[in-house]
């Protein structure tokens, strides 16, 4: 009698397994961040432009590539996150310690240039998106530069991460605008699952560009450093892995909606576009003004977000390589090189956009070329590091993971080199 009564009360409150479930749910929200943020920044100004072009020029035919891209992204990022939690060091730390000063020095110069090119394109995205709303770039760019500078210099890791996670929510605007395009879901579904392949230079270049914009060198550095800066430990690893997988899936869902929207509107009506800004403007007559605004707003959010993350990534990377203090939790004077580099990147990125007659397209093009050339190097370094027992102990790759990861790296290397060849001829 008593037993059944107390049992009833327990059932009425919460069973231990339910409580455990809620506790791990809470823990998950405390420990996520790096994976979701890193992945979402992939959908930056350059990413959105590429997706828009892919949808507008090739319709739904490239949608299926998002599935292997998601898999590759998960495989690569999982290794970075694992190295971060196990070693407590950033990728750049490990490269310097394992591969020495000379190679690291030159790698840093190249990464600085590539990241600077990317940062410029983010500020170009800010300028373009606000020009749709009629705001001059001479107002929008300085203000947004000041905003991202203030956000990072005055904040700490926790506050910065909260703002970034909040920014991730705004990517949902692309999902909403995707529905506004009133797609034929059957056609969309079948092209997602049925790979189409065309042996045309344009088609192949676009496919490679999609991969190139999703898996970039700076991400691996940012992800691993922010895992370390957040203070995640090996015990937290299951949550971090979930964070990475969730982020990788989310970023490709967003990409899916952008490509799909441009395919069912612009491609079907034969509208030619050159940039994400064109896409947003061309959407107004086809899918309505609100859809166009949502698209432009998504671009602004993504550009602003990435205009902050890319300089942070650069500052982490270079400071780690040369052993300078690097943490968002330090004050400016405690980590002068870190915040100095961050400020320099923001200043240069925003400043170059405002110079008249800058060959923007060419700057972005060459930064993509550098990214493509350096990605294989970084990936091979990563695989050597993740399999180094002195660094990873019992957390090295297992045999299956090694086959998968070497295969991924081989394909990505091939595609990056292919893109280099396409780009340079």
């Amino acid at each position: 009698m008593v037993d059944s009564l107390s049992g009833g009360i327990r059932r009425f409150t919460q069973s231990p397994s339910v409580r455990k479930y809620w506790r791990s749910f809470g823990l998950f929200f405390a420990l996520i961040g790096p994976g979701i943020i890193t992945s979402n920044v992939d959908n930056d100004a350059g990413g959105i432009t590429t997706y828009s072009l892919a949808g507008a020029e090739y319709g739904l035919t490239l949608l299926w590539t998002l599935i292997p891209i998601t898999a590759a992204l998960i495989i690569i990022q999982e290794m970075c996150a694992r190295m971060g939690v196990v070693s407590g060091k950033g990728l750049s730390d490990l490269i310097r310690e394992r591969f020495g000063a000379r190679i690291t020095f030159y790698l840093m110069i190249v990464l600085f240039l590539a990241n600077l090119g990317n940062t410029i394109s983010e500020f170009a995205g800010v300028a373009a998106s606000l020009e749709i709303f009629g705001i001059s770039r001479y107002i929008s760019v300085p203000f947004s530069a000041a905003f991202v500078w203030w956000l990072v210099v005055k904040g700490n890791y926790k506050s910065v991460e909260k703002v970034f996670l909040f920014a991730c929510v705004f990517y949902l605007s692309y999902i909403v605008s995707g529905f506004m395009g009133k797609p034929d879901w059957n056609a969309v579904g079948s092209s997602l699952l049925k790979p189409t392949f065309r042996m045309e230079t344009g088609f192949l270049t676009m496919a490679v560009a999609l991969i190139g914009t999703t898996i970039a060198p700076w991400m691996q550095f940012y992800l691993q450093s922010s895992v370390v800066d957040k203070g995640l430990k090996a015990d937290d690893y299951p949550y971090t892995r979930t964070d990475v997988i969730f982020g990788s899936v989310m970023v490709n869902v967003i990409a899916f909606f952008i490509i799909m929207l441009c395919a069912v509107t612009l491609f079907r009506n034969g509208v030619r576009i050159e940039s994400a800004k064109d896409a947003a403007q061309a959407l107004a007559p086809l899918a309505g003004e609100y859809c166009s605004w949502l698209f432009a707003f998504g671009l602004l959010n993504a550009s602003l977000f990435a205009a902050s993350i890319l300089p942070i990534s650069t500052a982490y990377t270079i400071c780690e390589a040369f052993g300078w203090e690097s943490s968002l939790n330090r004050k400016f004077l405690e980590a002068p090189q870190f915040y100095g580099l961050y400020s320099l990147m923001v200043l240069l990125g925003a400043g170059i956009i405002l110079l008249p007659d800058m060959p923007l397209i060419r700057i972005m093009f060459y930064s993509q070329v550098i990214n493509g050339a350096i990605l294989p190097v970084i990936l091979v370094f990563m695989l050597l590091l993740v399999n180094d027992r002195r660094i990873m102990g019992r957390y090295t790759n297992g045999p299956v993971m090694n086959i998968l990861s070497w295969l991924t790296v081989a394909v990505l290397t091939f595609l990056s080199l292919a893109m280099l060849v396409f780009a340079l001829i």
């Binding site: 310097r96 310690e97 020495g100 000063a101 000379r102 020095f105």
Partner: protein, 424 residues
Amino acid sequence: MSLNIAADHEPQVFLFLSELLGEKIVDSEGRPIGRILDLTGNIGGMYPPVADILVRLEKNRRTVMLPWQSITAVNGILTARPLLPEDFREPALRSGELLLKETLLDKQVVDTDGAKIRRVNDLQFLLANKILYLVHVDVGFRGLLRRVGLEKPIAYILRKLFDYVMTDQLISWKFVQPVSSPDLLRLTIAQNRLAQLHPADLADIIEDLNIHQRSAVFRSLDVETAAETLEETDPKIQVSLIEGLSTANASDIIEEMSLSEAADLLGDLPKERVEGILKEMEREAAEDMKELLAQPEEKAGGLMTTSYLSFAPAVTAGEAMEKIRREAEDMDLIYYLYVVDGQERLLGVLSLRDLLVAPPATILSELMDTRVVAVNIEEKKERIADDFAKYGILAMPVVDDNNSLKGVILFKNLLEVVAPKLGR
């Protein structure tokens, strides 16, 4: 990469790890033995000596260890003495030993609070009597460029365009503590104190060198470090070091030394040399020095310094504090304040402690102790040592027959005479 040989073919005393790695070892007939992969050392000591060399052999590409003692000359390339089969051993570390490149190079340096400072760009060794001591960790930009292989071109550009000479940023090994997990090097003193290295143990190593090596090391030190090192070295070596320098350099260094140490040193140098050095010195310092030099060394006058604080009796405690604050840095002695009248006659003494606890408006004549223990300028040093042992004070004022204050003898300047008497 080749070893840089100083232009005037001085014996090479400072070597960088980056210059040694990959370097060729040859036998006495110049036939190649192998290349250096790494060095081992027992890093427990203050300046640990290199024990073995990890070598990749030329003939069969095998990796073996070779004792550093088998190297007879380091001159661009390393020459080994005739080697026996038992000189080579399988690579294995003895307990306490580690591979210097593997464990130290490129590692993070953190300060006492764990904040990251720099990375180990290079390691600097001192070659003394064929023993290679690890003395410095190079954390500077120049060290990084040396590793990258751009040191010479960039140094040249900076010099030609900006008239800027790159310097090394070195941290003495004794302030560094390697930590294994996570592998990094922790400084054992605060970062801002790094510049104030106490050179006593550098002096110890210098004493072990032969005369050519010694002057080469000494010349590479900056004036301040050189002065401090000189104070710590044996008088005979002091003389040989100064004789290797130009008069202008010598006077710069001597000016940086404490007055009494400098006077002792000058007392040991030949007359003409001393005159030359005094001429190069600032007038005021030279005057003080001449006065001290006139005193015979065995007596109180030869031991004393004239760099101390004296005040008129009517000065207030507050005013005295102000003066100490302004001048303390250049004084040999600040712990005692001597009160003198218009004719420099010694009236009393008070300690820095007395001054600190006194109300600022009090005048010194009210604070001073008039029972002063002083010695006559003609007093022999043995008697003075007895007095030091008896009264247990840090410094003893020196007066002439009219009781006018001439100088102060510091306890440490008498240490070698006092020390045997302390046991009594």
